[in-house]
Each structure stands twice: as C-alpha cells, then as structure tokens.
Amino acid sequence: MRSDRSQRSPLLLKIAAAGGLLFLHLPILLIFVYAFTTEEKSYQWPPPGLTTQWLAIAWNRPDVWSALGLSVQVACIATAIALVLGTLCAAAVSQTKFFGREAISLLVILPIALPGIITGIALRSAFSLFDIPFSVWTIVLGHATFCVVVVYNNAVARFRRTSGSLIEASMDLGADGFQTFRHVILPNIGTALLAGGMLAFALSFDEVIVTTFTGGQQSTLPIWMLEELIRPRQRPVTNVVAMVVVLVTFLPILAAYYLTRDGDQVAGAGK
C-alpha cells in the first residue's frame, strides 16, 4: 500500500504541470491557424475564413528569400567556426588539467551569460572604432562567439564519458596522434558534435539581438521578422514565414535530441 504511493501524483500537481505545458505550447500552435487566415489587416480571432493563398504569395517574395539566404549563409559559417573552436576548447579542458581551466569555461560561457545587447553594442563600438564596414563577416563574428558555447557544452559532456584508456590503447597499438583522432576520438564524439552543430545552427539562425548591432543594413530572416513586427506591412506573409520558421527549427532540435538522448542531458543545457 505504501510502495505504490509514489506512483500516484496529486491531482492538483497534475493540473498545474499540464497547464504549464499548455501555456508553453498553445501560443506556438496559434501561429499555424493564423498562417491560413483570410484576414489581412488585423489579428482578428476567430479567423473569418481559411485560405492557402498566402503560402504562394510568401513563396514569391524576393525579400523573404534573400533574408533566408543570408541567414542560412551566416548560420553555416558561424556553425563551422563554432565547431572548430568549441571542440578544441572542450578537448583541452576535458583531457588535461592546467592552470586557469575554470577561467576558460567561464570565458566560453560569458557571451551567453551576459545579456545579448551588451555583446551587440560592444562589437558595434569595436567595429566603429576600427572602421570595419558591416558585412556578412561582421554578423558571423558575433554569432560564432556565442555559438561556441553550445558546441563546447555538448563536446565536454561527451569527452567526460569517453574513457581516456581508449586513446592510450590506440597509441599502444601503434596509431599516431592523427590516426587516433580520426579512428578513435572522432567516432566517439561525432554525434555530440553533430548535435552541438545543429543547436549552434538553430541558435544562429534565430539570433536577432546581436544581429541588430552587427548587421548594418543587411537583413537576416529574424531581422526581417523584427521589422515586420515593429511596422507590419503585410501581416499574412509574416504569419506564413513565422509558421515555416517554427517547422524548420523543430527538425534540428528533434534530431539533436535523438542524437544525444543516451547521454546525460546535453542537448540544450543552457542556450
């Protein structure tokens, strides 16, 4: 009688937990309804009618495509840089002990621990100090800085679970350092890096606060969205873009979850 008590949860707790989860998910689902509304000028609920015409109209908008193109380009480069820097840092911190190790983990986490606006304005003032013109690279510079931490977190967690004796065994069997890296270390940390890379991509793809400072006149997809939010021009197109963004970001998150679920919770431990 006692032992099955822990299986049953109080009704009130159940309601509160379910309510909290609904609070988290219903607003996002609402976007899907609005993408098909026939109402153009306001956010009227319930929608007066449903239509799929906005999908076609959004598809034919060149400004959406160019913003999307820039976002993908920036996210790819930033992810690549973050993968290299994050893995190097994680390998150094987890495989060896040295003076200042704690300081390095702090340094890596700092760009997301401090509010994004501070990173943004700091980079902006540095750019103007050195007369660096805004380009794709100024955006990448900002994004890569805070993407390092996601790759780092994933890689460090995996390195901790990878036994050091594997590396020693490989060396004992005659492999040189590069062979060991290619045949032993890389297969072990591969999925963690893939997951970290996906999350870094999602983070960069979605970033808006730092980008407003480092982008100049260029518009990534979030910047395009932000402009639509502040000064709505064609609301239905914004609705469609919002829905597509939700769908597109869900995929890498689900994939990252399935890649890392056997391990401890690493996938999104701290954005």
């Binding site: 609005y34 509010p115 040189d176 939010l229």
Partner: protein, 324 residues
C-alpha cells in the same frame, strides 16, 4: 651472470622502442606525444584568441567608453576621463528606467519559479519512460523555437481583436478584462500595450530556462526523503516547506540567473509588447542609435553587468552552480 641479467632488459627495451615516425605528420604526432603542453597550447590558442580578442576586447573597449562623456554642443565624444556619464544614470528619468527594469526582472523571475515548479516536479518525480521524454521535449521545443515567433504569437494573442479578448467575451467575463486594463499601473488600452502584457510575454519566453535547472535539482532529491517526511507525520505542505523546497532551491536560483539576466538585457519584448516607457535594453539601444550617445549607452550597459555580478556572487553562495 649478474651482468648478463642486467644487460638483457636493456637489449629488450632497445628493440621495443621503435624508431621515430617518418614523414611530417608522423614527426608532428611524436612531438605532441613528447610535449603534451605544445598540443595543449595549440588547441587553446584559436578559441582563446577568438574569445579573448573579439569578445573580451570589445567588451573592455565598451566599458572604457563609459568613462568618457559626450559634448552637449557638438554631439561628439569627449575623450577625457570623467564620471559625469555615470552621474547621468542617477537623473530621475534614467534612474526610473533602471528601477522599472529591476522590478520587472524580479517579478518575472518569481512568476517563472512558481509556474515552473509543478512542471519540473512532475517531470522529475512522476513521469516515467515515454512521458519523461515527452516532458523533456515539451520544455526543449519551446526553449529552442524562434524567439521572435514566440513574441509574434503573443502579439496575436494579446491584440485587442485577438483570441484572449474573444475568450473573455465567450465566458461573459469581459468586465473582468476591462477591470484589469483599467488598473492604474499595469493596465493600458489593450493587453498588448500594457505592463501586464510585457510581464506575461517575459514569463512565457524565459520559462523553459527556469524549468530545466529546477528539474535537475529535483531529480537529485531522493524519493524516500519525501516518504520519510510524511511517515514522520508532516502534512504535504510541511514536507514542501521543510524538505522539498530547500533541496530544490539551488536549482531555482540557477534558473533565476537566466530569467533575471535575460529580462534585464532584453529590449525587443518591451518594444513590441508594452507601454512606451523604456527598459534598460531599450535605453541602451536608443542611446547608441538615434541619440548617438555611446558613453551613456555604455554606462547603461554596465548596470546589468554589475547587477549580474552581485547576483552571481549571491547565487554562488547558495550553491546554485552545482545545479546548473
């Protein structure tokens, strides 16, 4: 005899030590093996250069600017050391902005903790197998889905013609909504231009950051502690106050680091959903952008840094970092 015995191991080891590897990569690999510090140095240099120069460098450059001031007539930055810009922070308008932001951050943190606790507790203690995965994804997906889309969704919900007004109408509770909107400080013309709206959106957007560390802390509370407490005659609320809550506190404090810091620095949510009164983030943005007063913007951005430093120090004393 003894000499032979002594030389034998030497011969053996001579054959067991292979000659150094040939080729560039082979030699490089050997060099790394003999000098692990060299490898460490090479591994650490790129990330440290990047973060140290690009990030810390610009951060320091920004902080230095807060000690300059702006010439009121020419609008140019006067490069002399002064604390005048910091004094400007204490002027009534600017000080209001700071206080408003801190109060909002504190309330958002409190509300997130209250909403997050049942979800985290259920996920940590009762959810099993499939349900556990569902809860995890249920928190992860909103956490990682687009920040702007989430704000946009709330713009749709809170709009005067939106779903919330409609729900209140259907439930014949329109008087309640009007009553809330007529409240002196938190109300406004519609929810999307009121403090209340800003508050709800802040809680919504940062809630997952509170759930995850709270859940992590609760996972570590052994179930038999709760059972022991009730066996010893404690009511559920006593168990919560004296056993569960103190053990969960480090996790809640860890989560509050995120909710507090993110609210302090955000400038997009209050800009899109909220009254026209500024928050720190908006003040920083306006000062460096339209006003062109970079020193004041820099001084403003020092405020969240200092608050967060104090907060982190207090959190560390609470043991929150072990729960991260």
């Amino acid at each position: 005899m003894t000499a032979l015995a002594l030389t034998k191991p030497a011969e053996l080891s001579e054959t067991s030590i292979l000659p150094g590897r040939g080729g560039f990569f082979g030699q490089l690999s050997d060099a790394f093996w003999r000098h692990p510090r060299l490898l460490l140095f090479l591994m650490l240099t790129p990330p440290l250069l990047w973060l140290g120069i690009i990030y810390i460098g610009s951060l320091i450059a920004l902080l230095l600017q807060s000690f300059f001031s702006i010439d009121d007539f020419s609008g140019l930055v006067n490069y002399e050391f002064t604390l005048a810009t910091y004094a400007q922070l204490l002027s009534p308008t600017n000080f209001d902005i700071i206080i408003r932001t801190i109060i909002m951050a504190a309330l958002v943190t409190l509300a997130s903790a209250v909403v997050a606790f049942p979800i985290a507790y259920y996920a940590a203690r009762y959810a099993q197998g499939k349900w556990k995965a569902l809860f995890y994804l249920g928190v992860m997906l909103p956490l990682w889905s687009s920040y702007l889309v989430k704000i946009y969704a709330w713009k749709l919900i809170l709009a005067k013609e939106g779903i919330l007004t409609w729900i209140f109408e259907k439930l014949h509770l329109s008087w309640l909504l009007d009553g809330i909107l007529n409240l002196p400080v938190v109300g406004g013309n519609s929810l999307s231009v009121s403090y209340l709206g800003t508050f709800v959106v802040f809680v919504y957007v940062w809630l997952p950051y509170m759930i995850l560390p709270t859940q992590a802390a609760l996972e570590r509370v052994p179930g038999n502690l709760i059972e022991a407490s009730s066996d010893l005659g404690a009511t559920p609320s006593q168990t919560f106050r004296t056993v569960l809550f103190p053990l969960a506190l480090p996790g809640i404090v860890a989560g509050s680091i995120f909710t507090f810091s993110l609210t302090l620095g955000d400038y997009i949510i209050p800009q899109i959903i909220g009254s026209s009164r500024l928050f720190i983030g908006q003040a920083v943005y306006a000062q460096q952008g339209t006003a062109g007063n970079v020193p004041l913007a820099a001084a403003f951005s020092v405020v969240p840094i200092v608050i967060m430093a104090v907060y982190l120090w207090l959190a560390k004393k609470q043991g929150a970092f072990d729960a991260l």
